[in-house]
């Protein structure tokens, strides 16, 4: 492998000795690192009962492998990620769609990266994240797959979200320069969604990306007294044609959305830190863009405002945030079906508690409100209190189940305990969504606790408990023609690790949530159970084996949400670095 890389880059795979007195005369240091994640899933039934109607539950095997490699030669870096997935057995289900014929995985690949392989249509191979970069203290240049964010993500925030395994990049070029107190960023490219998901059964839409075009520029002046001031602009051109062909078609057309805005950061002013961002959006749409962005056919300007301040009072640390977003989340509408977003503004929500009933507020296109949070530093104890209120008037959001605007009020409390012997991380939330008119209200009561503590010798235990009780009002949550009843969820995991190299985890789920329930795997339609063991045969490799089932759910993190389908079956995973 070393030789291949060396030949590829024309390098000597040798590291110069440290005792070379003249640093300038050193051979460039070559650093190569690789990781590989392999997972084999024996799926016993349909992962998404919300979509499948009738028919026998499919059983199939899915094998997923992700290889990442990086070479570093002085200031130069080379990255590649190769994703591969294979399906064995029919019918199988991908994202809730039962597939009874071999998939046409090469459909619509065009000039893209689908690689023909000797295993036929059941195997998909995709060189995914590839980049060449040059980085010094003052300049970095990246060509290939890159991530980008301006300000606080109101106008552009394309990043890898490892918490929910969504990895969208911009495939193009980016230059960042930092002359003196200035910082300039310029970028252009097309969106590139990761096709293969390590923690999720994979999509039927492996045929490629809708390569929407993105370009942006930002300038920031730091150290203007206590202030940093920035300005930026972003242009987006959406396509409805898969592959590079779609991008080429759009390249000559007018942009569909243009955003411009600025940021102000103030440090230590009146004993407080301040951050502000304001953006406006215009939509000089062509017909295609109008169809995508404005389902109501009424083009509007958009605006997005965010502000935050933090300050200390004695042993307490305070943070106050406010937001107002109007006609900005629609920038994500063409992307929603593909599981990524181009803008990800601050939500001010406790995202871990978000569920199918409350996700609409995270993705709202017409919302304003604020939050106050106070943390108290008491040595190894850090409790906090938080209160927030929002007004959500977005009724077009696909996640919105309410027929009228609503007022959202929530209170939250938590505690962190970090000592040599004990770790406790816990959060509790009470949340009310009050509909206008006579449509009642939803009430959510949520709590999570994570406790780590030592056992005998090297051994330790980790217990994690989640629970929520969701009360729907008499006409509060309408999904289609059905009123969703109140529901409960409880999840428990307990890990015992006798050594650093070996551990066993037991999982237990109870749910009556109609959005999440898949029928259970323990003889009761509401109960799920599973066990998992991990073992590290060497310091560089980990083997995990999972057997059992878990319920579906929605997972929000980093301002993004993702539906996670239920699973019942067996998983074997091998992860390593070399």
């Amino acid at each position: 492998m070393l030789g291949v890389w060396a030949a590829l880059f024309g390098l000597q795979p040798a590291y110069a000795e440290d005792d070379d007195a003249d640093a300038e005369a050193k051979e460039p240091a070559v650093s190569l690192s690789f990781t590989d994640d392999l997972e084999i899933r024996l799926q016993n039934f349909d992962p998404s009962p919300l979509v499948r109607v009738g028919g026998p539950p499919p059983k199939f095997i899915e094998e997923v492998n992700r290889f990442t490699g990086r070479a570093q030669v002085g200031a130069w870096g080379f990255n590649v990620q190769v994703d591969q997935v294979a399906f064995i057995g029919l019918p199988y289900a991908v994202d809730g769609v039962v597939v009874r014929e071999p998939p046409d995985l090469l459909l619509n690949c065009g000039l893209e990266r689908c690689v023909q392989n000797p295993f036929g249509d059941y195997v998909y191979v995709n060189p995914e994240k590839m980049a060449v970069s040059y980085a010094t203290d003052d300049v970095s240049v990246t060509v290939g797959d890159l991530y980008a964010a301006f300000g606080y993500g109101l106008a552009l925030n394309v990043n890898r979200n490892v918490d929910i395994d969504i990895d969208t990049s911009i495939q193009g070029a980016r230059v960042v320069a930092r002359p003196g107190d200035w910082e300039f960023t310029g970028l252009a490219g097309t969106l590139n969604r990761q096709q293969v998901f390590a923690d999720n059964p994979n999509f039927a839409t492996l045929q490629g990306d809708l390569r929407h075009l993105v370009a942006g520029a930002r300038a920031v002046r730091h150290d203007l007294g206590p202030a940093s001031i920035g300005a930026h602009a972003v242009a987006v051109d959406f396509t409805q044609t898969y592959g590079v062909a779609g991008a080429l078609e759009e390249a000559g057309s007018s942009v569909d959305a243009a955003m411009a805005g600025g940021t102000v950061e103030l440090y230590g002013v009146a004993g407080m830190d301040w951050q502000f961002e304001g953006d406006i959006a215009a939509f000089p749409l062509d017909e295609q863009g109008r169809n995508i962005l404005f389902t109501d056919g009424v083009p509007e300007m958009g605006h997005s405002l965010y502000g935050s301040t933090q300050f200390l009072i004695g042993q307490t640390f305070w943070q106050i945030d406010g937001k107002k977003y109007k006609n900005f989340q629609r920038m994500n509408r063409p992307l929603a079906g593909e599981q990524y977003q181009i803008i990800v503004p601050p939500t001010l929500e406790y995202e871990r508690a978000t569920n199918f009933n409350t996700a609409a507020a995270v993705l709202s296109d017409d919302i304003y409100g604020g939050r106050v949070r106070m943390d108290v530093a008491l040595g190894s104890l850090t409790p906090y209190l938080s209160a927030a209120a929002f007004r959500d008037s977005d009724l077009e959001n696909a996640a919105q189940h309410a027929p009228t605007p609503e007022t959202i009020v929530m209170g939250q409390a938590g505690l962190q305990v970090l000592t040599d012997e004990l770790t406790v991380l816990t959060n509790f939330l009470g949340r009310v969504e009050k509909r206008d008119e006579d449509f009642g209200q939803d009430v959510q009561l949520y709590g999570d606790v994570d406790v780590k503590f030592p056992l005998i010798g090297q051994s330790h235990a980790d217990v994690i408990l989640f629970g929520q009780h969701f009360i729907t009002g008499p006409e509060a949550t309408v999904f289609g023609d059905d009123v969703v009843p109140s529901w409960d969820e409880l999840s428990l995991s307990a890990t015992v690790a006798p050594t650093h190299d070996f551990g066993i985890t037991g999982y237990f789920d109870y749910t009556t949530n109609p959005f999440a329930n898949n029928g259970g795997n323990l003889g009761n339609p509401n109960l799920y159970g599973a066990a998992e063991a991990y073992f590290k045969p060497t310091s560089a490799w980990t083997i995990r084996a999972f057997h059992g089932g878990y319920a579906a759910g929605i997972r929000c993190s980093g301002g993004q949400c993702r539906a996670v389908p239920a699973f019942t079956g067996t998983r074997l995973a091998v992860t390593g670095s070399f």
């Binding site: 440290d18 650093s31 203290d137 990043n159 935050s308 601050p346």
Partner: protein, 167 residues
């Protein structure tokens, strides 16, 4: 369940060692700290530097960070510098500041990598927690991925070994 699995598995990852990267010269970078000041890796030439990649949503990170702050407090006079680099996205500046201030971690250097420039160099898989120990001569001495309670002793030993090499 899925959330719990992610958290458990994050805890389970331990001391992976991409050995081919060891001994290579650490790539330079510049980021901004929570006060908006420019911080470059080159500012710490001749010191042992520990890069700690973490996230505000990462439980194992918070456990490890408590130990790392203790090491920093104990060993900074001997030449140890700790750079905590958040892999959170662009919205995270306030959340990072809230966590640092409320835990009184102000002594250490916290950096924001909003465009994933540095994480793309040192930790393209974006694992957390993820640690990189850089020797006084600017070469990568050791890499950690994941954290299990009890492993802090081996982390500290590696740091002390590097400090004693040319200190």
């Amino acid at each position: 369940m899925w959330t719990r699995r992610a958290m458990i598995l994050a805890t389970a990852g331990t001391l992976l060692t991409p050995s081919l990267a060891l001994g290579a010269t650490a790539t330079g970078f510049t980021l901004r700290n929570l006060a908006g000041d420019k911080v470059s890796l080159g500012d710490f030439e001749g010191r042992v530097v520990f890069l700690s990649f973490w996230a505000t949503w990462c439980g194992p990170c918070k456990v490890e960070m408590r130990h790392l702050h203790g090491f920093h407090e104990e060993l900074k006079e001997k030449g140890l510098t700790m750079l905590f680099i958040s892999i959170d996205d662009a919205r995270a500046g306030m959340a990072v500041k809230q966590y640092v201030r409320s835990n009184k971690y102000d002594e250490a250097i916290y950096l924001l990598d909003k465009q994933s420039e540095v994480v793309g160099i040192y930790n393209p898989k974006k694992s957390v927690p993820y640690g990189v120990l850089i020797s006084r001569d600017g070469t990568i001495a050791k890499v950690w991925e994941g954290f299990n309670p009890g492993e802090e002793d081996s982390v500290k030993q590696a740091i002390v070994t590097e400090l004693e090499k040319t200190g």
